[in-house]
């Protein structure tokens, strides 16, 4: 699997490109997840978001997630692209595409991917609200990661 299946990019993401990477004559099912910048979170209005990544490691971690999925759901193909930089409301931050011969694994593997992204991929989001800005991090007070990998995370944009 070419490594451009797992990319951090600065330009807008075209969902179709990511879907094409996983198309397969023996896939009966393709699921995609498109994470977009949401305007309202409760009463709070987001003006824009800024994403930063530790790019080479982030791409490695995305690739690792793809490998974990192939191991758990044989026959799947996975492609993930995450955008960084300044994103406006409704812009696409991440696209995850999973193809599989059968639909159940395509859903499960896709959801697994977004959960793992929020755990282990070194990407950070700064929210710009009307009245301030903040880097968003773990809201669950994980003081340490004894397994060497963060296990959980929360408070993110599509939670």
């Amino acid at each position: 699997m070419p490594s451009n299946y797992f990319e951090i990019v600065e330009d807008p993401i075209d969902t179709k490109d990511i879907i094409q990477k996983v198309e397969d004559r023996n896939a009966g099912a393709i699921t995609t997840f498109i994470g977009t910048v949401r305007e309202m979170t409760g009463e709070k209005r987001t003006i824009y978001l800024e994403y930063q990544a530790y790019k080479p490691m982030a791409e490695k971690m995305l690739e690792q997630i793809g490998q974990e999925i192939n191991d758990r759901w044989p026959g799947t193909h996975v492609a993930i692209t995450h955008r960084i930089g300044s994103l406006a409301i409704a812009d696409i931050a991440v696209v995850i595409a999973v193809s599989s011969p059968n639909r159940k694994p395509a859903y499960e593997a896709n959801e697994y991917a977004i959960e793992r992204i929020k755990q282990i991929v070194p990407i950070w989001k700064k929210e710009q609200w009307e009245d301030g800005a903040a880097w968003i991090g773990d809201q669950l007070e994980n003081v340490s990661y004894p397994t060497g990998k963060p296990e959980t995370n929360g408070g993110d944009h599509n939670d």
Binding site: Q52, Y54, M57, K118, I120, P122, W124, D138, P150
Partner: protein, 77 residues
């Protein structure tokens, strides 16, 4: 010498995205103490460390020439 990469909140607090530290060999825990003594980071205790682009444990060894990244809680997706 090691390079220490900073991101997000830590980068803003240090006002730089990379610091060079004269560090020969020691554990992540030891490096963390040095960083905490030199900078007033708010998030160091909840941050992960990576050595040469792989997550490291507290007792893993950092050697001169390594690139270490301090990884505060991530928020991608």
């Amino acid at each position: 010498m090691i390079k220490v990469l900073l991101f997000a909140q830590l980068q803003e607090e240090a006002q730089t995205d990379v610091i060079e530290i004269d560090f020969q060999e020691g554990t992540v825990t030891e490096l963390k103490k040095i960083l905490q003594s030199q900078f007033d980071f708010s998030q160091l205790s909840e941050s992960m460390f990576a050595i040469n682009e792989a997550y490291a444990l507290e007792h893993d060894v950092v050697k001169s020439g390594d690139t270490v990244a301090v990884i505060p809680p991530v928020s991608g997706g």
